[in-house]
Amino acid sequence: MNIPLLSIVTFLPAAGALLFIFINRKQENLIRYTALFISIINFILSLFLYFNFNGQTAEPQFVEKARWIGYGIHYHIGIDGISLFLVLLTTFLMPIVILSSWNSVKDKVKEYHIFMLLLGTGIIGVFVSLNLFLFYVFWEAMLIPMYFLIGIWGGKRKIYATLKFVIFTMFGSLLMLVAIFVLYSIFYKTAGTYSLNIFDYYQLVLNPNIQIWLFLAFGLAFAIKVPMFPFHTWLPDAHVEAPTAGSVILAGVLLKMGAYGFLRFALPLFPDAAKKFIPYLAVLSLIGIIYGALMALIQKDMKSLVAYSSVSHMGLIMLAVFALNMESLEGAVYQMLNHGLSTGALFLCVGILYERAHTRLIKDYGGVSRQMPVFAALFLICMLSSVGLPGLNGFVGEILCLFGVFQSSKLLAILGVSTIILAAAYLLWMYQRVMQGPLENKKIFNFKDLSLREIGFLVPIVLLMFFMGIFPKPFLRKMDASIEHLLKQVHRAETYVVDKEAYIKPSLKISEIDINHNTKENRTETEDNE
């Protein structure tokens, strides 16, 4: 079978976006249905990825390789047990967000869906790239549609929020770009050939002093994206101003790109530096957990409450990532999926309320559950999933994370538990104030319960929450081998003798099959100048 399935999954949304150029902007429903259709097809295709994925091996699967520009810049994609689920999460959320903005996005419908689908391609591309250049292209290109989504369909301070989002992210990623150049150059100097292949770089043994700078550059880019304390300030602004669908994608998938970056690049590429910085990073994550939760407690706006809860939850995920053992990493990846689902769902719920009352302030609500019983039930489940109630997905992830963290540091684990306690506090308190209590605001009397469409996009999430809470095995078993391999990568540092003189061991193996034929001649000519 030679169908380039992964490429299709990656580029189908973008192809759909191109198709929209030929659709008249007045046929808004046609545009909506087409976008929904494309995203559902994409989800179904990505399910094939899941079922054909072999969980026994850590090798990347569905690998596709093609010559592109040369000099190490190639089209090289594939997925392993970690990226598989992030791709699935993305394709799962895409139809949901398109469905959720059916009524809320009324003007510029065509452009909205074009940017949405382009965003889909950008995100999936980040997760599947195995070539650093390709990765960087997707990583940056994905900013553009998000910039437009927040900037055009956002709230009052949308321009401020969207520029802040782009500038913050770019600040980190440009420094990462410089680090990529350094790696590129070091690799050429040691191996004599160009490569940007991530697996070639795994074999590099770098001077620990260089590693520190490179790790800082990569780490900063990813820490901003996660966002870790103290780089989180763009997040509440972006979330509050973004349209509901934008928030869902932002919280659901975009933040995961940061954590994924740590797992795929920062930790395995620079293990020595990682070891040095992990204590500090873990403390930052812990601060993020507690700070985010405390900030969430005092928010008056539901959306910024959920946004700060994201900071807190991502803190736990990062804490687990930095614990670096089997349980913690599985928990972290699992929790990434959970967080994508539950926070995404919470944003959807806030969006549903906002569409009815056009306010997000908690004090404007009260007693909504009487008017909207179905919604109240679904909202409650989403919230409990976020809190981590046993039987729902959040529990499995959080418990794994905390088990893992406990193995490496008891203190951190004990303090980290506060994420669950505080989450229960701020979320349940919000639920109490919004959904229960006396019905004072007259507007709420006119609230209608969920429409079929709204049930249509909430119920799949809720079902998946139960499924992932009760049967985590089909998920965890597919990622075992990859995570084991990753751990080997990160811990390899101890097995090498540190060679301070050279950047690298001479016994380096090159897995890159394609060595550009005119590489050598051109390079010798420029090197003569030195």
């Binding site: 250049f133 290109a141 969207t162 350094v182 590129y184 050429y188 051109n522 030195e530």
Partner: protein, 477 residues
């Protein structure tokens, strides 16, 4: 050795230029746009001759003028650039009631100057080319005779330009005084063997840097740029922002290539260039932040881009420099074309406020302009990203990491003002009614070519890169 064919590309342009002047007398006012087509035909002929000479390597005037691959490639680039400028000018000139004949012929004369500049290593001949270019440029800047700003631009450009030329001549004189030659290679050979006169080569080169620094608009020789760019007719601004600048860089390749190769102690000049590059990137980008006029924003942005290109000179990576110039040509002319497209009879929309909401009113032009701006900002997958990628990665490879860090941070600043234009276009409500003149096929053709160039160079630069590398590989340094 001496082969008259060397002059062919220049002769074609010259013929076109003179012919346009002559024909103008006989053409009726409505039909003067034909002059543009005539110019383009001659440009095509000239370009074709460049392509045909690729494997030849002619020279004339005892080596004073030659066509090596770099010269051919750059000539071709400038011919394409000028052709694009002519395409975007045709309707503009009619709408603005400017004379056609002089315009095209001056533009072609300027091109002749550039073609001479890029195909010589003799400083006197380079200077000749530069003066031909400059004289035509001064006149072009003042072409809108009824507009005071245009006159101001011309006068400023002329005064500061002649000042810079004086520096240039003085520099050449210093170098000649010591080495008894005006040819770059023999000058460098002389100073290589006689290191006692290092002070002369440093001061001579310093003067040359000032002279050319003016042409390529690097800080602190950039003061003329915003005013001249703002005052000149917009297509002329597009021309200024690309062609003379790129030609200046072409000369810098020929100047500093041998210099860095042959002279052992290049530290002081290196430091000067390093500093100029940093100053240019930072100042250009910071000043652009405060601008409200789109031509001024693009003027400062072009200053900043000169700073990035300087990095390539410091990294001695000439293929990345030429690639940057190629991409820069398409994206900058493209951006200016879009600005011209957004104008109507006798009125240009140049203030940022005018751009509010046009992204949805004119989706095609809006999207195209956004793409050019994103490319200028260096977002993938556009050509602008790859151009920066090559320059910066080569610089890191040569150990210039601090410079590259400054460079990427400067480009972060630039993201802000490029995106601000997009903010106006897409995220603000229109402030007043806005109507543009749409019957302009030549302009849209130029827009399409630029768009194609930016995307092609961003996604599949393979062949272009191959030619550039061949051209650079043929250089003796």
């Amino acid at each position: 050795m001496n082969n008259i064919w060397t002059l062919l590309p220049i002769l074609f342009v010259l013929t076109g230029s003179v012919l346009v002047l002559l024909l103008e007398v006989f053409l009726k006012r409505e039909k003067k746009e034909y002059l543009g087509f005539i110019s383009i035909i001659f440009l095509l002929l000239s370009g074709t001759s460049c392509v045909l000479f690729w494997n030849k390597g002619f020279s004339y005037f005892n080596g004073g003028l030659f066509l090596d691959r770099l010269a051919l490639l750059l000539s071709l680039l400038f011919i394409i650039g000028t052709a694009l400028i002519i395409l975007i000018s045709m309707k503009y000139l009619s709408l603005q009631n400017t004379n056609h004949g002089e315009y095209y012929s001056l533009l072609l004369f300027a091109l002749i100057g550039i073609l001479i500049m890029v195909s010589s290593t003799d400083l006197i001949i380079i200077f000749l080319g530069l003066e031909v270019l400059s004289m035509s440029s001064y006149a072009l800047a003042g072409l809108k005779r009824s507009d005071k700003k245009s006159g101001e631009a011309a006068l400023k450009y002329f005064l500061l330009g002649s000042f810079a030329s004086a520096f240039l001549v003085y520099g050449i004189a210093l170098l000649y005084g010591a080495s008894k030659s005006t040819e770059i290679f023999s000058i460098m050979n002389y100073f290589q063997s006689d290191s006692t006169q290092a002070i002369l080569v440093i001061s001579g080169l310093g003067m040359l840097i000032i002279g050319f620094g003016f042409k390529i608009a690097i800080v602190p020789f950039h003061m003329w740029t915003p005013d001249v760019y703002e005052g000149s007719p917009t297509p002329v601004t597009a021309f200024f922002s690309v062609c003379p600048k790129a030609a200046g860089f072409a000369v810098l390749i020929r100047l500093f290539g041998p210099y860095f190769k042959q002279i052992t102690d290049t530290k002081s000049i290196f430091m000067v260039l390093w500093l100029l590059s940093v100053l240019t990137m930072i100042t250009g980008n910071l000043l652009a932040l405060r601008q409200k006029n789109i031509k001024r924003i693009l003027a400062y942005s072009s200053i900043a881009h000169a700073g990035y290109i300087m990095i390539a000179i410091l990294a001695k990576s000439y293929y990345s420099l030429v690639f940057y110039l190629t991409v820069y040509l398409f994206m900058n002319i493209g951006a200016f074309s879009a600005v011209i497209a957004l104008s109507k009879q006798d009125k240009e929309y140049l203030e940022l406020d005018d751009y509010a909401g046009i992204g949805f009113r004119y989706p095609w032009i809006g999207a195209t302009l956004s793409l050019f701006l994103l490319s200028l900002a260096g977002f993938p997958p556009t050509g602008g990203f790859l151009a920066k990628f090559y320059v910066f990665s080569e610089a890191v490879h040569k150990g210039l990491t601090p410079l590259v860090i400054i460079g990427v941070m400067a480009s972060l600043i630039s993201v802000f003002y490029y995106l601000r234009i997009i903010v106006y276009m897409y995220m603000r409500e229109p402030s007043h009614s806005f109507k543009i003149y749409e019957n302009n096929p030549a302009l849209f053709l130029a827009l399409f070519i630029c768009l194609y160039g930016v995307i092609q160079l961003g996604l599949f630069p393979g062949n272009v890169l191959l030619f550039i590398k061949q051209a650079v590989a043929s250089l003796p340094f």
